[in-house]
Amino acid sequence: DVKVTQSSRYLVKRTGEKVFLECVQDMDHENMFWYRQDPGLGLRLIYFSYDVKMKEKGDIPEGYSVSREKKERFSLILESASTNQTSMYLCASSHARNTGELFFGEGSRLTVL
């Protein structure tokens, strides 16, 4: 089974702090994604990566950056956290030459005070 592991299930940070959310997948998937999920808004794509060191902006990239130094690991960075970034963050991965089906991690619930 595909396993996508997110390093932290729950985080509480203060406004202005730098936040790192880590995601690791063990199925050699080329594609990795970061979504945020908010009530009433569904899932919105922040960034995705289709290869090591490659990234592309999603629909809501402002205030975020990403890093993919190794194929299995995709990090989401909040340079200076703000209260409106309080949300559930979901990491996902997929095989580039398959159906496009996403496999999700358990999620990281971030609260910014």
Binding site: N31, F33, Y35, G40, L41, G42, L43, R44, L45, F48, Y50, G58, L90, A92, S94, A96, T99, G100, E101, L102, F103, F104, G105, E106, G107
Partner: protein, 112 residues
């Protein structure tokens, strides 16, 4: 820009009844995905529909895809309480192999 709309957004049904969740998308897409999310949990893949007319069934759930109408349906037969969850559909814009666009989700509650 691809937009995905689900309806209804909230659905309360009695055990044993049938119902359908609709998923419309705005631009050409060859693929449609259905996911389930339980409270406090992540998303679990239910169905991947890859062509016009595709139909897939698992237990009491059946999904179909009509690419000409830009419509997918998730049909629930003889609902049971264990089906209570939020259901999301997602589509991929043609030419964009990677990026799924999700609907806002349908919160399904099955009452005894």
């Amino acid at each position: 820009e691809l937009k995905v709309e689900q309806n209804p957004l909230f659905l309360s049904m009695q055990e044993g009844k049938n119902y359908t969740i609709y998923c419309n998308y705005s631009t050409t897409s060859d693929r449609l995905y259905w996911y389930r999310q339980d409270p406090g949990k992540s998303l679990e893949s239910l169905f991947v529909l890859l062509s016009n007319g595709a139909v897939k069934q698992e237990g009491r759930l059946m999904a179909s895809l009509d690419t000409k109408a830009r419509l997918s349906t998730l049909h629930i037969t003889a609902a049971v309480h264990d089906l209570s969850a939020t259901y999301f559909c997602a589509a991929v814009r043609r030419g964009s192999n990677y990026k799924l666009t999700f609907g806002k989700g349908t919160l399904l509650t099955v009452n005894p």
